[in-house]
């Protein structure tokens, strides 16, 4: 059998210590982390990770996007490696676990293999993807996007931060621009452990989320145009109030998402009201509708319904409606074999688990386009993430890392 026996476990104390050791680099102001991509703190975090990888006997490769690949050899030099990892960069007011758990969970499984002197047929490569967060250099998941061939590398280099510094310059400055061609590596499989960043697992007392899909996304930018006029001297019946269009479409978006439960979400997060003055009737409102579903037909159905009904609502109000799809991403379905490896690992280890859809975007969503991929999720307190108050328990980290270990090692095939 290529799967590890159910008594094999990672060292939770060591994992937990490493997580809190790296959290000392780029600390936040309230106990979280501020290790934004390609800053000096990111450089220091990478150095620490490299030292740990060196100590574990791994060979480091760095590609032209700065992504780090730490390799543990397999017994068959021709076998494609199994990749495991996530990202070490954080939000400016981020938590200690978002991304970090996935990278250090990968390191921990290699350390455990070393402890137990277990060999695998396929090499295992622990990955730290550059700039997953996208806060300093938008968009998010930049390096994995270039790796998967969906983002152009030159374009990625030209991304600028708020001070006008480019991604390419900053990557060189911190000394992590490698020589290796991006995306040249072929993968046997890719696994990523991540905190859920949502409230479901904790609420349902599950230790493990077996991620079967990522959410697809549509961003629809809507513009409602009425007529600016004086709030005091314009009678109700003579108004063309764009704010009422926004109000009715907000309720419509909510209603559309509620009609597709539990497979869909919808919200309007960003609005601009013009002129946004207390005694002027809004003449124009621009806002972005965010629809997500892991089912493509549901996703497109929601957009279709919005585009069919919003103009009617607006017409009844005497205002104009225009819409443009400004962002779209079809739902990724993760690899069946990899997903099964995660599910059977959770069962073997006796952890309560459930299938789950990833609401947020992850490096795994891009890598899934070029390699068989799956994700493991563990709970996080109150579903809170992208916040310094992000928190998980050591037991949750342990369960996640154990499932990751079993899925990766089974896929990499233990050599007896």
């Amino acid at each position: 059998m290529a799967a590890p026996a159910s008594n094999l476990r990672i060292n939770a104390d060591r994992l937990w210590d490493s997580i809190h050791e790296i959290a000392k680099i780029g600390p936040g102001v309230r106990s979280g982390s501020n290790r934004q991509t390609l800053t000096d703190a990111d450089g220091e975090g990478r150095k620490l990770f490299q030292r740990w990888c060196d100590e574990a006997g791994l060979t480091m490769g760095v590609d032209q996007m700065g992504t780090m690949f730490a390799r543990r050899e397999g017994t068959n030099p021709d076998a494609l490696p199994v990749y495991v990892g996530s990202h070490l960069d954080t939000q400016p007011t981020g938590g200690r676990y978002d991304g970090v758990l996935g990278v250090l969970g990968g390191l921990e499984l290699v350390r455990t293999l070393n402890d137990l002197n277990v060999k695998t047929k396929h090499p295992i490569v622990v990955v730290n993807w550059t700039n997953e967060e996208g806060t300093r250099f938008a968009p998010a998941m930049l390096a994995s996007g270039v790796f998967a061939g969906v983002i152009d590398q030159d374009w990625a280099y030209e991304r600028k931060d708020a001070e006008g510094k480019t991604f390419g310059d900053e990557l060189k400055r911190i000394g992590w621009r490698g020589e290796e061609e991006v995306g040249a590596r072929k993968m046997h499989a890719f696994f990523e452990l991540h905190i859920e960043q949502g409230p479901i697992l904790e609420a349902e007392d599950k230790l493990i989320g077996v991620v079967t899909h990522g959410q697809g996304l549509r961003w629809i930018q809507c513009t409602v145009t009425g007529k600016e006029s004086h709030t005091g001297s314009t009678p109700m019946k003579m108004r063309r109030n764009a704010g009422r269009g926004l109000a009715q479409i907000t309720e419509l978006v909510h209603e559309i998402a509620m009609s597709k439960q539990p497979n869909a979400v919808g919200a309007i997060g960003h609005i601009d009201v013009y002129p946004n003055s207390r005694n002027i009737i809004p003449g124009k409102v621009v806002f972005t509708v965010d629809f997500r579903s892991h089912v493509l037909e549901t996703l497109t159905g929601m957009v279709d319904r919005l585009l069919a009904e919003a103009p009617k609502l607006c017409q009844a109000l005497g205002v104009e409606f225009e819409a443009e799809i400004v962002g779209q991403f079809d739902p990724p379905a993760f690899d069946e074999t990899c997903v099964k490896a995660v599910r059977s690992a959770a069962e073997r280890l006796g952890y309560p688990h459930r299938d789950i859809v990833s609401g947020a975007g992850h490096d795994a969503c891009w890598v899934n386009r070029v390699a068989p991929t799956a994700m493991v999720m563990c709970p996080c307190v109150d579903g809170l993430s992208h916040n310094e108050d992000e928190d998980i328990s050591k037991e949750w980290a342990e369960a996640g890392a154990n499932v990751l270990f079993h899925a990766v090692v089974e896929t990499a095939e233990i050599v007896e």
């Binding site: 859920e196 960043q197 949502g198 409230p199 479901i200 609420a203 959410q215 996304l217 961003w219 006029s229 004086h230 709030t231 005091g232 001297s233 314009t234 009678p235 109700m236 003579m238 109030n241 704010g243 009422r244 926004l246 109000a247 009715q248 907000t250 309720e251 909510h254 998402a257 509620m258 439960q261 539990p262 869909a264 979400v265 919808g266 919200a267 309007i268 997060g269 960003h270 609005i271 009201v273 946004n276 003055s277 207390r278 005694n279 002027i280 009737i281 809004p282 409102v285 972005t288 965010d290 997500r292 962002g327 990833s358 609401g359 947020a360 975007g361 579903g383 993430s385 992208h386």
Partner: protein, 430 residues
């Protein structure tokens, strides 16, 4: 106020009213409007004559020269409001005042305020042309800083005259550069020595463009303004819970914008339940953190209600509070509500309003009673003197905009009604 029987007033007024053949000189009025608009022109055909700037001084100087040419004596009070007096046959009687303001918004129109002042001047000019004398003196007034764009709040001249604000308060107002009202008033040479207020005119009349769309829409020449809207302004913050727009399931959401949206609709319904004069508006809406992929954790918004009857205005506030309560309960939100402004409705003087209505009828102009949605100097003067307003239409209801427009015949109609109401009240001496 002395109680008089309606009939005796009626008879007296009829005796003192001008004949319906008496008309103002519409062409002269229009020329004066255009001449004044050359002082502090805007960039798109309107006016930029902010209070207490050099161009405001030039406008005042021009007005003063016109008044003096018409035989008036011009007095200036400590707030800079100008009173151009045409003597009555009985100088012991209180004057009938008529006017508005010559200051404008920074991108204002040529008629907002100016029409009221120059129509007052046109009354005097017409009386002179016809050699008509009135028993009561007539004073044409230019109230200082009605707009409040440079020194907020506005209506400084009229509210100080009405005793609402003190001279110290007015002098302490600062513009964006930190210059004070008092310094700037002195600088332009219009800090007069007549105490502001403390006297009671017989009546005050103000002609103003409607600044709304009703008269034009209905094809009516004259608005007989019976009330000024009472106003209540609120600032409301809904708080829910900020969450990831992708990974937070719908049933667990506490989306503050969904609550705010329901309040927008409720505010509209509350206003529609109190037709025809109630209005209700949400003008400001902001989401926090305002990111497309974050569920709004809070929304701040403004609600504004206006109604001419105080009790109805209070009922509208009550209905809003109930709606907010329901919205919070149904959407798991909390709300903070602060009332940031309250302005009591103004009911204009019955006799003065009748004088305006009668004037419109005598002259054969179509007219309707209406409520003033915007605030005016007349709303303050109404607290110390019998007051009424005349509205004329403006194109598309546009005002506070350089595109503000009226037709000469609308101005003439408004000025004629003003003339008849003022002269009737000042009593023609046969």
């Amino acid at each position: 106020m002395t109680v008089r029987s309606e009939s005796s007033v009626w008879e007296k007024r009829l005796a003192a009213a001008p004949g319906n053949n008496i008309k103002v000189n519409g062409e002269r009025l229009w020329e004066s409007l255009m001449e004044m608009a050359k002082v502090g022109p805007g960039v798109k055909g309107g006016s930029n004559r902010l209070a207490l700037t050099d161009v405001d001084r030039q406008g005042r100087d021009l007005f003063k020269s016109w008044c003096e040419a018409a035989g008036c004596t011009v007095a200036v009070d400590t707030i800079g409001s100008m009173f151009a007096r045409r003597p009555g046959t009985d100088e012991l009687l209180p004057p009938v005042m008529v006017g508005s303001h010559l200051d404008t918004q920074p991108t204002g129109g040529k008629y907002d305020g100016v029409l009221g002042v120059l129509s007052g001047l046109e009354i005097v000019r017409t009386l002179n042309d016809l050699g008509i004398r009135t028993k009561h003196p007539i004073e044409v007034v230019n109230w200082t800083n009605e707009e409040g764009s440079r020194f907020a709040p506005g209506t400084t001249g009229s509210s100080t005259f009405a005793g609402i604000h003190t001279q110290d308060f007015a002098y302490g107002l600062k513009d964006a550069d930190g210059k004070t009202f008092g310094e700037e008033l002195k600088r332009i040479g219009y800090a007069g020595d007549v105490p502001a207020g403390g006297r009671r005119p017989k009546a005050y009349f103000e002609l103003h463009i409607e600044q709304g769309p009703i008269l034009e829409e209905e094809g009516v020449d004259i608005g007989v303004v019976t009330h000024g809207q009472g106003q209540r302004w609120f600032e409301i913050a809904f708080t829910g819970f900020e969450g990831h727009a992708g990974s937070t399931p719908m049933p667990r959401r506490r989306d503050a914008l969904v609550g705010a949206a329901k309040l927008v609709t409720a505010v509209n319904e509350i206003a529609l339940k109190n037709p025809p004069d109630a209005v209700g508006t949400v003008g400001v809406l902001k989401t926090y953190p305002g990111s497309p992929n974050v569920i709004p954790g809070s929304v701040s918004m403004t609600v504004e209600f206006r109604h001419p009857v105080d009790t109805t205005l209070a009922e509208m506030k009550e209905a809003m509070s109930k709606a907010i309560e329901t919205i919070c309960a149904e959407n798991k939100l909390t709300a903070e509500v602060e009332e940031v402004f309250y302005y009591a409705p103004v009911a204009f003087d019955r006799d003065c309003v009748s004088a305006v209505r009668r004037a419109a009828e005598r002259l054969g102009y179509s007219h309707r009673d209406m409520v003033s949605g915007a605030g005016h100097d007349a709303c303050y003067i109404a607290r110390v003197a019998p007051t009424a307003m005349v509205f004329c239409p403006c194109v598309d209801g546009i005002s506070h905009n350089e595109a503000e427009e009226i037709h000469p015949e609308w101005a003439t109609a408004g000025a004629e009604v003003l003339f008849h109401a003022v002269v009737e009240t000042a009593e023609i001496v046969e």
